[in-house]
Symmetry: none
Subunit: 211 residues, 4 copies
DNA sequence: TATGAATGAGTTTTCATTCAT
DNA sequence: AATGAATGAAAACTCATTCAT
């Protein structure tokens, strides 16, 4: 008659409560983001985790698997962050500002497109599919928020998906800014504000296009 | 006054008027753009040119040298194309549209930031410097055109460099669009128009920011 | 008190009690001695051991590392042999004869100076330092024995280190003797005796130098 | 009717009176001595001469040819220097001192044995033969001088060739001395004197060998 | 006489991956 | 769960050599 859910026997080694697999995944994510897929070797990841290559292979059958999982999990986390911000009552503009700030504060930068290009030759179709779905979901949240604002009349009707894509592309560019140039901004908030303003109001601030 | 009448050494092939070195450079440029720095081997380049690795090394001492030259020359060409368009009498908005169209029509796409990240560990400081300068020049032309429009009162004053950077980032994102999604646009012009409009008019089309 | 009862990982082959690493080191030592540093490739070593290049790299990170270890270990072994002989009660002359014989009987021959010259451009400062120390130790034992004999009055006072160096240089030269010439000696002992005599008594066999 | 030996027409380009072939040979000699056969590339030689590889090949069919010629000519020059010194009226000991000093003053060092070992695999039998002969000649002069001194009763009878070989080996060792150690001698003359003394009088300075 | 172009065969090194314990 | 051993394939780079002018 078992009373507790607590598993019996000595609990498995989980230093700081993080499992080996998670540690590997987390470490790999950071390294992939920093250097790109081909420039990170399984040994690099293993060494940074203080494990051996073989241990990494114990958890991930191939490097492509590790990469796919790393990217998918990352995109899920980002999507969740976006959703959290979008679920508040603030105006869309305010929310976009919050998203932008969170994105730029995170040292990590997901230039998904660049990653895809690099890894394309190494990933299986299934893996590419997985990543594409995660990417879709990630942009999807933003896209729907924009769509809702359009439907509510908050902003004029246009292509909401394109808006979402362009917004993220601008954030990525903001993240990759040359350090020397970055320092010409008085603060991070200042940079973020200018980017969001550019996205929100455009360069011209007028209604009519002369085209 | 010395005349070196007869050229020394074996003459270059010059088939179709294109020298071996140019062929290598051109081929390499395309491959780097398509797959990224680490994924293109010197042998890959050589084979595509129908030469041997050693021939590539005859013209470029290292892979990093080849890459640097490829990117710098590319950015020079792009800068020139931008300058050509900007030197017409058309309005800036029209010019931006032309630039965007030229950029997206070119199969090549330079996601400079992504390349820099990939190659950073492999390039020497000198090489990085060369690329940064070429990049600066490339954006510089656009930046000055925006600045001039601001000074003329054509558009409101804001950060012209950030505008230039964001514009190119949007074009790059447009270029990397998922094919399936790309096909939802009625034409290339349609896609380009929407991107330029978004940049020019912003999402909100209003003057006041609520932040 | 942690007992690592079961050894982790795949166990080494240990055929004939010699570990893979030792086999590689031993093989490499012989090849370096025979052909010199630049003329021995990592693949050469691997093939002679019936392993792959990658296995050699598994144990030695670089060729320079392998070379350094090979030479240092060799010099340590030679030093030990010299010390063993010098620790007997025999007269120094007899001991020198024994050392000379052992040196010449060993098929291996270390022309340390020549090796240093060849490898100098390839070795790191640390590696050169390691080799220099091992070399110093090797000569040191001989030097001290000569010094002791001088202090005891067995031989006249002079520069003991120079004596040690010259002795080894003569042995090396003896080892490298042209085979045709070597055969003009009635026996190995004869050759060794003549060399040691030359070193011990000099060419002139007289006390006064006319210089 | 030609009166003068002076060749007619424009004299061939001989900068500083040294022909291209001689310049190449001379340069190559120095580089081979400094770095050893395998570590010197034909390109290295060419660049140091400010010519192209192809020019070197114009004068020397193969690298082995260049090396053989370089070494043979060098040994001929050394032999001549030895003969010059030995043809004076000075005592053999004095002459050996002069030879030793000349040898050690020359920055170049011919560790012929080491070179032979390195190059053995690359040289043809003919080339090895050529070098062996030059080497024989080089040692031969010294050998004969020693033999003559023995016949004159100046020094006791022993193996003159072995003496010659050992003498040169000691000089080579003296040349390769660690710089730090070299500086412990008050002057070059001091070092040379000690080496020649050791060779001439031996370590023991006594007539009887206890063996 | 001298040279620029081109190459084949190698060299050092890296790395994803497998295997046996 | 984790690891040490071993490898095949490829990458960057080198170099002696040939060829055509």
């Amino acid at each position: 008659m078992q009373r507790t859910q607590r598993t019996l026997g000595r609990p498995r080694k989980e230093q700081d409560g993080i499992s080996t697999k998670d540690l590997i995944l987390h470490t790999a994510t950071g390294m992939f983001l920093e250097k790109g897929y081909p420039s990170v070797s399984m040994d690099d990841v293993a060494q940074k985790c203080d494990f051996t290559k073989a241990t990494v292979y114990y958890y991930y059958k191939t490097k492509a698997d590790l990469f796919t999982d790393a990217m998918v999990q990352l995109m899920i986390r980002i999507k969740q962050r976006i959703i959290d911000i979008l679920s508040t009552n603030a105006s869309l503009e305010t929310q976009l500002f919050q998203i932008a700030k969170a994105h730029i504060q995170a040292t990590v930068d997901i230039d998904i497109n660049a990653f895809m290009k690099e890894a394309k030759t190494s990933l299986s179709d299934d893996q590419l599919q997985l990543m594409k779905e995660a990417e879709d979901n990630m942009y999807g949240a933003l896209e729907q928020a924009i769509k809702k604002a359009m439907d509510k009349g908050e902003i004029p009707q246009s292509n909401p998906r394109l808006g979402a894509l362009m917004f993220v592309s601008m954030l990525t560019a903001g993240n990759n800014l040359d350090n020397a140039y970055k320092e010409t901004f008085s603060s991070l908030d200042d940079l973020v504000t200018q980017i969001v303003n550019l996205f929100w109001n455009g360069l011209a601030n007028e209604n009519q296009s002369s085209l």
